[in-house]
Symmetry: C2
Subunit: 346 residues, 2 copies
């Protein structure tokens, strides 16, 4: 049995602890300053406030002031913060934990650099820290609700050391939570981060068909499939640009698939496709900043830098650039279908 301390009591940090708890591990769920009500609610009801699921026995709950207590004798620290919490996590948590404590992050995303690079969080943290930590991350298609409901799920844990990865895997692997392992951190993390722009792109077609069929009308799949195929093409090129292995497309494509079918990214893409402006679409979320929009913007920004520097041709990323035009340059949806046509010689 291991002791797993989870900082960030949001949906994904909590959900990934379910299989670990099913394996008999002790889970210490620590709320960030934004999670106080989640911790209080869990203490009272043994239910997670936003997941709306009963939390298994074997969980205990901590507010952030009790961090030291929660970290005592811990074997693994899980970061459950979203990409909006990475600076806080760096300053408040990673600066104080023992260097011997491995960290597994569910935070998805990447940061673009001035020279057109894209850096996933484990490597970004490593750059910013003046201490050497053991940083691991989770990629691959997984919605938190379905994980807590034991839907068969396949993800990838990535990080620098395969032996440690195997050890971490042994804490989480169950008959419904399946874990591949990879030392290709850039490949795994960028593959799954890239899906943000492309999930928005594919769901534009959902909205486009609603223009003719009505909101509850039948969906068209030729156009969705065309955008899905083009997404695969551009994601492969992006993977090559960041130096990630081509097989990571498996995680990127799976994550793209799951994102197309659920959540707020689909909702926004559909509204845009239906004809709403980006401002009108975002107004429907009532002030919530969407992680996928932020990451899509970063991805496009990096590609635009590379285009300016002559390292990439704009015609290689017509779909990504169109998504960026829509969300950041007030352009209307006008899918550049013809630019997806290629001539290929054997």
């Amino acid at each position: 049995m291991s002791i797993i301390t989870v900082v960030g009591a949001g949906m994904m940090g909590t959900a990934i602890s379910f299989p670990a708890s099913d394996n008999g591990n002790e889970i210490r769920l620590v709320g960030t300053p934004l999670d106080r009500h989640i911790i209080e609610h869990a203490r009272k009801t043994d239910e997670h406030l936003t997941l709306k699921r009963k939390i298994p026995d074997g969980f205990s709950y901590f507010q952030i002031e009790q961090l030291d207590e929660a970290l005592k004798d811990a074997d693994l620290l899980v970061s459950g913060v979203s990409s909006f919490g990475v600076d806080w996590f760096l300053e408040e948590i990673l600066s104080v934990i023992p260097e011997t404590l491995p960290v597994l992050m569910v935070t998805k995303g990447m940061q673009d650099t001035e020279d057109g690079g894209l850096i996933p969080y484990p490597l970004l943290y490593a750059q910013k820290l003046d201490r050497k930590l053991s940083l691991y991350a989770v990629g691959g298609p997984c919605t938190s609700y379905e994980l807590t409901d034991h839907d068969p799920t396949q993800v990838c844990f990535c990080g620098g050391d395969m032996e440690t990865l195997r050890k971490i895997k042994s804490m989480f692997e169950t008959d419904y939570y399946h874990v591949s392992l990879s030392t290709d951190i850039v490949g795994v993390e960028c593959a799954v981060a890239m899906k943000n722009a492309y999930a928005l792109a594919v769901t534009l077609a959902v909205g486009l068909s609603q223009r003719t069929e009505g909101v509850d009308g039948k969906q068209h799949y030729n156009s969705q499939a065309a955008l899905f195929g083009q997404s695969i093409r551009e994601m492969r090129k992006l993977l090559a640009l960041v130096g990630g292995g081509d097989d990571n497309l498996v995680y990127g494509a799976g994550d793209l698939y799951v994102t197309i079918f659920g959540g707020r990214t689909r909702y926004i893409g559909t509204l845009l496709g239906r004809g709403l402006s980006f401002e009108e679409a975002m107004a429907e979320l009532e002030g919530v900043t969407l992680e996928s929009i932020v990451i899509a913007t970063r991805t496009a920004r990096a590609v635009r830098v590379l285009i300016e520097r002559g390292k990439v041709r704009s015609e290689d990323f017509p779909l990504l650039l169109h998504v960026d035009d829509i969300i950041n340059h007030k352009k209307a949806v006008d899918i550049p279908w013809s630019s997806f046509e290629v001539e290929t010689y054997l």
Copy 2:
């Protein structure tokens, strides 16, 4: 204006003629012996019997006895037969047409060989014919209903000569029908044929979630995405095996996507996932032989030959082999989730 003669008045042969007709070309739709009622119905009503769509002006209709008349001065022959009609098409049509008449086939599929090869129809025809014809084929995600309804569609025409491909493309390309071109016949055709086994595989998860959620309950996407990702992995390996270019995954993934969301393959996969035996599931189709089942079987048969000969490892294709076990070896659905786990080194 060109004259396009279409032999095979089924849904896809007719649908692909819509954009060509919109471009002002003359379409001569010729029924096979199985299509008599479709031709008669079209003559009377200008409507297609199974597509249930009004056929544009500029179409004329022929029964098979009028083939010579329909071929007079034709610039292109389109084969609209399904893969069950390829022998008939070879003997009755390809043996009699002028060698100068290029042929574009909508027939999807491939044939396995005794030594574990997979050969697409244009190359199979070329092997069997003792005359030299100009054979081209269409691959990529396209349902006939949606094409006739002008949903934006992106396909690939493939064949040996790029100049001829461009000429054929100019007959079909419209603002809703977009055409890439490729001389990689094996790559394009095998990529889109492979999707048959994998569309069945992914939709097993639809049925699996119905076991707990009920037939009209909410769908689970983690498991579908896991199977989608594994499908991408195995399709890439299959593409490499047949010698097709890796970029053809774009067409394979798009075609997989569209097949998951429509038609009888999804229906059968869902029934199997729900717990029906293969015989019980097929009984629901009342004697219809499903093209996707035939092609999935051929794909698996080729891979099994290669495994026997030590050229391929069975652990590289766990999902394909499980699908084959279900449809050809009376096995129950029991997705080998753990076998999708890999360890990857940077």
